[in-house]
């Protein structure tokens, strides 16, 4: 069996996993809050995007007709921009709730987000029902192409490329902008941030908004592959969790590399011993963490205390 297609496939899967973990990584890295609602926000992003692409509202003075008359690619791009922004607002609301848990046992933050995950999932079920939903994507990125005698999905390559782009943009934001510098400082030393006269409250709000927006973005990108149903979030939060531990809390590239490793592990076992493909990521985690307590690139974190 030719190995190359399987490696390429594993890499693309890895980039998608890294994208799923990105928002989770940001929040846990900077704020040391484990956001268990990550998966529900992931799902919410996809649902909101679905509504933006194909709204089903009453027509007020022809606005609706004019809107759905817009070409699909335009509505799709709009959804990719607007849906994460709307979910970020929900995320900011969650952060405001979270404030009551700061300075307490980190477990409370985790439990609050666990509750939020339940509430969000049930709300989705209440609004959109339990039915399987579809997120339409533009013609240009759907369908298949032939390469080397094998058929590949165009959307998958688009999604992997998009994931790569998102990863690079977040990295540039963290490394090359003043906001990023403050966030990074906050990750290591919140006293320092305060001493510099930066408003820590606003910083946390910003980080949460960004983290949840990234969760929503991942949801929009993954939906055409995974499908969309109210409980889809649990499929996202578990790998995100796992990737962060594998990569090490607080390490950007740790998360990205761990995502790619998990993708390769799942993809390659999927190709050669498919029945073990899901177990492989847990075994990888246990193997790595047994030898490296803080994952591949982890730093010391208050969450350990």
């Amino acid at each position: 069996m030719d190995l190359v297609p399987h490696i390429v496939n594993g890499l693309s899967l890895g980039l998608l996993f890294a994208l799923i973990a990105l928002g989770f990584m940001l929040i846990v890295g900077v704020m040391e809050v484990i956001n268990l609602a990550h998966g529900s926000l992931f799902a919410l992003g996809a649902y909101v995007a679905m509504v933006i692409i194909n709204p089903a509202f009453a027509d007020f003075g022809g606005i609706y007709a004019a809107y759905v008359g817009l070409p699909l690619p335009m509505r799709y791009v709009l959804a990719i921009v607007v849906a994460p922004a709307l979910v970020a607002v929900v995320g900011m609301g969650l952060e405001v709730c979270m404030r009551r848990t700061y300075g307490k046992d980190p477990l409370y933050g985790l439990l609050l987000t666990f509750g939020a995950a339940l509430v969000l999932e049930e709300t989705i079920r209440l609004i959109w029902g339990p039915t399987e939903q579809v997120l339409t994507v533009p013609q240009g990125i759907s369908g298949a192409f032939l390469f080397g005698g094998l058929i590949y999905s165009k959307y998958r390559f688009f999604a992997a490329a998009f994931a790569l782009l998102a990863i690079l943009l977040v990295w540039l934001f963290l490394e090359r902008t003043p906001y990023g510098a403050v966030i990074k400082a906050g990750a290591h030393d919140s006293e320092m941030v305060r001493a510099l006269g930066i408003n820590l409250t606003r910083l946390r709000l910003l980080v949460f908004a960004l983290g949840t927006a990234l969760a929503a973005l991942a949801g929009i990108i993954m939906t055409p592959i995974w499908g969309l149903r109210p409980h889809v979030g649990v499929d996202a939060v578990v790998p995100a969790f796992l990737i962060i531990v594998l990569g090490g809390v607080g390490s950007f590239w740790g998360a990205v590399i761990a995502g790619v490793l998990v993708g390769l592990a799942v993809g390659l076992t999927g190709s050669f011993a498919s029945q073990w493909s899901l177990l492989s990521m847990y075994l990888l985690l246990i193997a790595v963490v047994t030898f490296r307590a803080r994952g591949l690139f982890g730093k010391k974190s208050v969450l350990e205390l």
């Binding site: 980190p106 439990l111 509750g115």
Partner: protein, 324 residues
């Protein structure tokens, strides 16, 4: 969780209140609109939750994969009935032994972990157990579960009690619960319990004082897992089956939720209260609306936000004394 004056006693006031309430339960359970079988599950979950709180409340170690041990205990009970001997004691012993082994092995990986890494590794191990229970269907019956597990009678040599009705099983479970309550109460007030609390407060200091922190954490984890497995054995009897779904992430998260909402952080009785609140809320709200998890989730969020010490904390505030 401060030691109270009751700590040295074998049987305390709250214990007597709890036992009295539970012993008389079959007489009033129907009239409050509930049913006997629910009593069995509540008693089993109390055992599970009390053992879990040893880890969470006393050890400060949040496990998000504890359902694995409940499940393992249930499978062990069932498999022992089918392949070893159809006998209650054999089944429960098998559940306990498998709990010790599984908890002991997982504990080895976790004993030197703290905080988030501890929590995450418990998730990973929980998923592995769940996955194996689904996959190894020649042994576990896969997603259909292990069906037709008998309820052997409780043979005490001189006396033999038939456990086939939910009522008799309830009294048996209650007896086990009483033993677990007394044993755990003694344990948390023993020198061992004090060291565990010291480790929770400051691991470094505890190790400077000469305690083998890893050994203590390993022991707490294994004990807690074993209690869960014992509860699992009883659960297999109640359900007459063992299913993989008690091992999944959501189920494991639910026990954390129950213990916290009851006030496991501040009181020995938190888990007992939490289990009662959860089961009754689920039964009552669940029969009114399909979206009961929405309401329970909201309740839980409000509880974490405004009263993270849970129901037990609320009670302590209002009565001005510790219920423990």
């Amino acid at each position: 969780m401060t030691p109270t004056t009751d700590g040295g006693r074998l049987i305390t006031g709250p214990m007597l209140i709890l036992f009295a309430a539970l012993v008389t339960l079959p007489f009033w359970v129907q009239s409050v609109g509930l049913y006997q079988y629910l009593g069995v599950e509540v008693a089993i979950w109390m055992i599970y939750a009390l053992g879990f709180n040893l880890l969470l409340g006393y050890g400060g170690l949040p496990s998000f994969g504890h359902g694995a041990f409940l499940g393992v205990g249930a499978y062990a009970f069932g498999l022992a009935q089918f392949h070893v001997l159809e006998n209650l004691w054999v089944g429960l012993l098998a559940a306990i032994l498998v709990g010790i082994v599984a908890g002991g092995i997982v504990g080895l990986f976790l004993a030197h972990r703290r905080g988030i890494y501890f929590a995450l590794l418990t998730v990973a191990f929980g998923q592995v157990f769940w996955f194996v229970s689904l996959k190894w269907f020649s042994v576990t019956g896969g997603e259909d579960g292990l069906l037709g597990i008998p309820r052997p009678s409780a043979d005490f040599g001189l006396v033999e009690f038939d456990l086939s009705s939910n009522l008799s099983l309830y009294y048996f479970t209650l007896a086990v619960l009483m033993i677990v309550v007394v044993a755990l109460w003694r344990l948390v007030h023993s020198p061992f319990g004090k060291v565990v609390r010291a480790i929770k407060q400051n691991e470094t200091r505890a190790s400077f004082l000469g305690y083998n922190v890893r050994l203590y954490k390993w022991a707490v984890f294994t004990l807690s897992a074993t209690t869960a497995a014992l509860a699992g054995g009883l659960f297999a009897m109640a359900q007459q089956s063992a299913f993989p779904d008690v091992m999944n992430l959501v189920s494991s998260g639910t026990i954390v939720m129950m213990v916290l909402i009851g006030g496991g952080f501040v009181s020995f009785w938190g888990p007992v209260i939490g289990v009662t609140v959860f089961f009754v809320a689920r039964d009552v709200i669940g029969s009114i609306t399909e979206t009961w998890l929405l309401w329970f989730g909201l309740m839980f969020m409000l509880s974490v936000l405004f009263k993270p010490e849970g129901v037990a904390g609320l009670w302590q505030d209002s009565s001005g004394e510790s219920p423990a």
